[in-house]
Amino acid sequence: MKDLILGIHVWFARDGATIDGDVVDSATLPDFATTNDEWLQLPTVTAFEVRFNKQVVKRRGPVPGGGRFAVRKTIPISTELTYAFDVQEWDKLHMELLFGAAAITSPSGTFVPGTMTAPVAGWLYMDAFSHEQQRIVAGAVRAELTVDAFKFGENLNDHALLAEVIVGNELNEHTLTNLT
């Protein structure tokens, strides 16, 4: 069975926002099922890439017969996980990340470019569906968001939204469904 993940919907609960009466932070994950209308829904995602990188130390030993070494095992030292989304449209959050603004004043829309000092952190909820509209993977992770450099032009190129997953957070959880 071949499953394509085609539909990715992403929401973001930013640190400091109040959702369901609670202030969001690294230890407070709002329940998405009951509060999703208070999360910020991010623009249309056209592609999604999971990048799981491990730093390993390779242990090499002499091969019987001698004369050369071969890998006997790898010893994992650290891991990192990035979700990379290709996104079509721009919203205030993406512009804030692109310009590196510390904040965007609402409703006037004024901001000071290049003043961002702290990463934009929060909870990223992802809901990914197959081509048959079956839910494949869903769940929330703690993440810090960045937007790659982007050149505006007379085209419809996507821009890259990168979510560095804070792997150490104990509330991170995804659920797989409809897979054998």
Binding site: R59, I77, S78
Partner: protein, 173 residues
């Protein structure tokens, strides 16, 4: 890419006494065991000589170095292991034996541990030992070392025993 390689040589401290294994066959090494040597040379010139003359003066000196890797249960455990090994570095003077699986053996005579720097990468400890010694000779003795570095505790050169105050960790050899 970091990598460690299995040792092809065994290093035994004091083969005639405590027979402490510093490096065993197959131990993962950040840096393999190395023995660099040298001797004292005097170079003297004579009046209008076409070239100077070098005089070997003996006093051979060898430096044995290695960096061993130890996989531990966690990052704190790695640090503890490093400190355990630092305490357990033999402080006295002894010979050091190099053994190969082929059966050949080499002996570094009148050696002493000079420095024991250590570090770690995550839970993988990196424990180095720099041993200064005298001359290097072939050896044909039979040895059966059983004790591993860090499992036992040692005296200083003055005979003081390096142990915790409650003596719990102390094992006499």
């Amino acid at each position: 890419m970091d990598e460690v390689t299995d040792s092809v040589v065994r290093v035994v401290w004091d083969p005639d006494g405590s027979q402490l294994i510093l490096v065993d066959f197959g131990d993962p090494m950040w840096s393999e065991v190395a023995v660099d040597g040298g001797q004292v040379v005097d170079v003297a010139g004579a009046i209008r000589s076409p070239g100077k003359t070098a005089w070997p003066r003996g006093n051979e000196e060898h430096t044995l170095t290695f960096e061993i890797a130890v996989e531990t249960a966690g990052i704190a455990a790695a640090f503890e292991h490093r400190l355990d090994r630092a305490i357990a570095v033999p402080r006295g003077q002894a010979d050091v034996l190099l053994q190969f699986e082929s059966g050949s053996q080499y002996r570094l005579r009148r050696a002493a541990a000079e420095r024991w720097p250590h570090a770690q990468l995550g839970r993988l400890a990196r424990e180095s030992l720099i041993i200064r010694g005298g001359d290097l000779v072939a050896d044909v003795g039979t040895y059966d070392p059983l004790i591993t570095w860090g499992d036992h505790w040692f005296e200083t050169e003055e005979g003081e025993i390096i142990v915790s105050e409650d003596n719990e960790l102390f094992t006499w050899i």
